[in-house]
């Protein structure tokens, strides 16, 4: 795990010159917030953001094009279920990245999620996550809205989980009893119980629901606080629609509504801190261009990334559109990914944490060749 101590010994003065604040050394606390929304299963980017200006869209997947997409520009539309997100697009506080993916073509959920979260090209090659490494460098606290600590946030020095227990007919005992439990444990564990005890005092006002929307609300609330976390990770599962994916209505469109509402919830709970926030979706791969035999789609390659937050400068769709004719597809089946999504993650880190792009590509992604897209989104 790359600790700040290691980094300091490596570059010394460079730390200050690059301009990012070091805890305890400058007055500038990190103001930016990042929320990563992990869409598990593989989101169908063409259904979410149909390239309506591309004739091949209808030729290749007629049955899977929504009948009433909102037209964003001559080339792209967006699925009507993205209501709140569309208002954000109109307000210069959202953007879409299309035909994008991490450079992973294996189409396996496990490997894909591991690449997405670990940030390495080779699956299962690292025990920390890109976000965790960045948090460690910038010395930032985060919150995983799940019971387990997802790979993406591992490597951070300071993080906590939030995922209310569902154990019926049980509540935490009194403050005194919690203190007594704490007293039996050695320091590291005792600190954790102390945090639990503190949290339990606040429990009254906190919802115990754990659907993505409620978790988003809690994340927003926590990140609004002065000394609250600056990073949150939320999971939305079940995008793996191999059959009956839906078009105007149906399973995938319902998930779009959920993602849309999650963005809305984050905005409403973050309140004024929304101006300092960037939310980004991540999915392990897109889905096949053509429909399979069961009105669904299989694992693919390129998909979309949805970004929202006040840090965005001007709304746009960023895409090096590869086209949808058979010869333009990856292995004759998938939308090509012409934008390396790592550069989007890097841009978000740059915008929220003030980290230098070269530093990010070198120390977070361990790959100096990642292009900079900061200007396209935040510039």
């Amino acid at each position: 795990m790359l600790t700040r101590r290691h980094f300091l010994s490596g570059t010394g003065a460079g730390l200050f010159l690059s301009g990012y604040p070091v805890h305890g050394f400058t007055k500038n606390a990190i103001e930016g917030r990042i929320v990563v929304v992990l869409l598990e299963g593989g989101m169908d980017g063409l259904l979410a953001v149909p390239p309506i200006g591309d004739d091949n869209l209808f030729k290749q997947r007629r049955a899977l094009v929504a009948s009433n997409p909102l037209k964003l520009n001559p080339l792209f539309g967006v699925h009507p279920n993205f209501e709140k997100f569309s208002s954000m697009l109109l307000n210069d506080e959202a953007s879409i990245i299309h035909a994008t993916s991490f450079p992973y073509v294996g189409r396996s959920h496990f490997e894909g999620q591991n690449v997405l979260q670990g940030g390495m090209l080779e699956p299962f090659s690292i025990k920390t996550g890109w976000l965790g490494r960045a948090m460690d460098i910038a010395n930032i606290a985060g919150k995983a809205m799940s019971l387990e600590t997802p790979l993406i946030i591992r490597g951070a020095n300071d993080f906590d989980n939030f995922y209310p227990a569902r154990i019926k007919h049980s509540r935490l005992p009194s403050f005194e009893t919690l203190r007594l439990i704490q007293s039996t444990h050695a320091s590291k564990t005792a600190k954790v119980i102390e945090k639990l005890t503190k949290n339990s005092m606040k429990m009254g006002g906190v919802s115990q629901a754990r659907d993505p929307l409620s978790l988003a609300a809690e994340a927003g609330r926590a990140m609004r606080e002065k000394d609250g976390p600056r990073v949150a990770v939320i999971k939305i599962p079940q995008f793996d629609d191999h059959s009956e994916i839906g078009t105007d209505t149906g399973h995938h469109p319902e998930l779009f509504t959920l993602v849309d509402r999650t963005f809305g919830k984050l905005k409403s709970e973050l309140k004024e801190e929304w101006n300092n926030t960037i939310v980004l979706t991540m999915t392990e791969f897109g889905r096949t261009v053509k429909e399979n035999g069961s009105a669904g789609t299989d694992h693919g390659y390129g998909s979309v990334g949805l970004l929202a937050g006040g840090l965005i400068n001007r709304s746009s769709v960023v895409a090096n559109w590869p086209g949808l004719s058979n010869k333009d597809l990856y292995e004759k089946r998938d939308l090509y990914a012409t934008i390396d999504y790592r550069s989007i993650c890097a841009a978000c880190l740059e915008a929220a944490f003030g980290l230098d792009h070269d530093l990010i590509s070198d120390r977070v992604f361990l790959d100096k060749s990642i292009p900079r897209t900061y200007g396209h989104i935040f510039g």
Binding site: L70, K71, L72, N73, P74, L75, F76, L89, L90, R314, S315, S316, V317, V318, A319, N320, W321, I339, P371, R372, T373, G375, H376, G379
Partner: protein, 107 residues
């Protein structure tokens, strides 16, 4: 003798304008070569100012935030633009040119 001088004058003038158009070609080629390194396709590298060259250079500069509103680059600007492409702004332009940004155009 006058006829001879006229001929020399004509040749001279033609050579001069030929030389000017030579320079114009180099500038356009300069633009086209730069565009080739971006996602804004200039068409063929022929030094000729065509529709593709015009729309591509305008898109690149607009996207990089280097055009004033309603400003449009034409063939006459090619030398100035070529200088810009090799100035300190070069890096920023190349970076911007790697990805295409489609604005939201809902009314």
């Amino acid at each position: 003798m006058a006829k001879f001088i006229n001929i020399i004058l004509i040749v001279f003038i033609n050579t001069f304008s030929f030389a000017s158009s030579l320079n114009a070609d180099t500038n356009i080629l300069c633009l086209q070569k730069f565009l080739k390194k971006t996602v804004f396709e200039p068409g063929s590298l022929d030094g000729v100012w065509g529709d593709k060259t015009e729309s591509s250079i305008n898109s690149l500069l607009d996207q990089a935030g280097m055009l004033k509103p309603n400003q449009k680059i034409s063939e006459l600007d090619s030398q100035a633009v070529c200088n810009l492409l090799h100035s300190s702004k070069s890096h920023k332009l190349l970076e911007s040119g790697k990805f295409k940004v489609f604005r939201i155009e809902i009314d």
